[in-house]
């Protein structure tokens, strides 16, 4: 089945239609970001300094957590081999919504210098919904911090998050994932494992 969907379009109309309660909750959400930093490519080198004294991401409420269950944001830092993609998808589906994805570096945007590679994906956005792309090869911690600030602004404005797209267009993403990973991706969808209905995240 073909699904007419393109990953980049975000619903701007929702911006001004938040109720007061939603606004407050979104403000709190934007103030507290728990990150699971998935170091895949060279960008992993630039992530730890972001959380150290020099750049101090905790100023903006951004802290690292050790498990995807507690995380709000996953950072995919650079090129993704097919093998790693499997784990990234698994990690992403274990996170609790609302959840967001930050793609770090050119490789996450369009394959970067791994464009020709036989075992890396090119566009991360086709496999999991990316909320924020930070470009550069490799991006400096300042760029990542700005990415966080922009993401927080969007959460505050109540814009539609990638996780909603993922739930709505699950078939689109699963089709793309199966294209590179084969038919047997496990879990096919995390909710299936716990025998929940499709479309429900855990």
């Amino acid at each position: 089945m073909e699904i007419g969907f393109h990953g980049h379009e975000f619903d701007k109309a929702e911006r001004n239609t938040q109720t007061l309660i939603e606004k407050t909750i979104n403000w709190f959400r934007s103030k507290s970001i728990f990150v699971v930093a998935y170091g895949t490519g060279c960008g992993a080198i630039e992530m730890p300094p972001t959380f150290t004294s020099r750049y101090d991401a905790e100023r903006g409420g951004v802290v690292g957590v050790a498990t995807p269950r507690q995380a709000d944001v996953i950072i995919v830092s650079g090129y993704l081999a097919y093998k790693t993609l499997r784990r990234v998808i698994r990690t992403y589906e274990q996170m609790q919504s609302p959840k967001y994805v930050i793609g770090l570096g050119s490789c996450a945007i369009n394959g970067g210098m791994y464009w020709d590679s036989y075992n890396t994906i090119k566009k991360l956005d086709d496999y999991i919904p990316v909320d924020m792309l930070v470009n550069g090869c490799m991006p400096r911690p300042e760029a990542l911090l700005e990415g966080f600030a922009k993401l927080q602004e969007r959460i505050r404005n109540g814009e539609q998050g990638g996780w909603e797209k993922y739930e709505k267009n699950l078939e689109f993403y699963k089709k793309n994932q199966k294209k590179v990973l084969g038919e047997n991706i496990d879990p096919s969808y995390e909710a299936d494992w716990y025998m929940l209905k499709q479309g429900a995240t855990l």
Binding site: S32, E58, L202
Partner: protein
């Protein structure tokens, strides 16, 4: 009565979270960075409560955080906040130290049950570490409390507080017991060097690994309630309690900040090292205090 308990919970929730925010801020300053505001823990907890989904593993998993929260609230209810006023005294007249000690271990047990249901090996590992550490932590703490009970001839907290008005503060009268209790407190607060159960680098935050969204929020909230309860308990037992809210905050914060400063400068002990240390040094200090009371009155 119900209203009082609710007031108590709200005060403990707010104060506990602001203390933890301050803790994060001070840690940041010591590490040479700005760090989050003191309200950061609030933001975290409200965000977690407003999560749209929370992974669950059956009804026992639901009960775990609830048992822990119950333990925290009960502990809080049986500790008198102020010296002479009936304000916020809730049910303390019926409670005493023995009941309190019993209630304080309710939380860890509830947690162990829930983590077991989750089935995550890291969680189970964290709980095992936590429970073995608990043996070490409780020994000096219990010795300190038994010492106070003997010295005051009563297990009633209110009575112990009243006695201190006549005899002077217990921190000066029984310094050994105070030191033993404080070392245990460092562990009860999950500070270094006794923070092995939740080591994020080894067991992925241990007992909390599988808790997400509302479960984690509940765990955090009960943590801050429980922390406040323990601070008030030490204040009551050793610092003679408080007459006003300002005094209470001052005294509890003084204890809290001492614990933080101890925690920040130490590395992490292994489980065996921690239990070894706790069974030797603080236990010995506590015993010296106990012998001193029994022989010299």
């Amino acid at each position: 009565m119900i209203l009082q308990i609710l007031e108590l919970i709200v005060i403990a929730y707010v104060v506990g979270f602001i203390y933890f925010g301050t803790y994060r801020n001070i840690t940041a300053r010591i590490q040479g960075r700005y760090g989050p505001t003191i309200y950061q823990s609030f933001f975290d907890s409200i965000k977690l409560f407003s999560k749209k989904s929370s992974a669950s593993f059956g009804w026992m998993f639901y009960l775990g955080p609830i048992i822990m929260a119950t333990g925290a609230v009960m502990t809080l209810m049986f500790i008198p906040l102020f010296n002479d006023s009936d304000f916020l005294r809730s049910v303390t007249v019926q409670g005493n130290l023995f009941l309190l000690l019993y209630l304080m271990v309710l939380g860890p047990l509830g947690n162990a049950l829930a983590v077991g249901t989750g089935g995550n090996p890291f969680g189970v590992m964290g709980v095992t570490r936590g429970l073995s550490r608990l043996f070490g932590l409780e020994l000096p703490f219990y010795i300190a409390i038994v010492g106070l009970i003997i010295a005051s001839n009563s297990a009633d907290i209110v009575h112990i507080m009243d006695l201190q008005k006549i005899n002077g503060l217990n921190i000066w009268n029984h310094p050994f017991l105070f030191i033993a209790a404080m070392i245990s407190m460092v562990g009860f607060f999950g500070e270094s060097p006794f923070d092995i159960p939740g080591a994020p680098q080894e067991v992925y935050s241990g007992p909390r690994t599988e808790f997400s969204g509302k479960f984690l929020a509940l765990l955090m909230s009960q943590g801050s309630l429980f922390a406040f309860a323990k601070l008030v308990l030490v204040t009551d037992l050793f610092l003679g309690g408080a007459d006003s809210l300002g005094m209470l905050l001052l005294k509890t914060f003084a204890i809290f900040i001492t614990l933080i400063f101890i925690g920040i400068v130490y590395g992490r002990y292994k489980v065996s090292q921690a239990v070894d240390f706790l069974m030797k040094i603080p236990t010995l200090i506590g015993l010296i205090g106990l012998v001193r009371i029994i022989w010299f009155g």
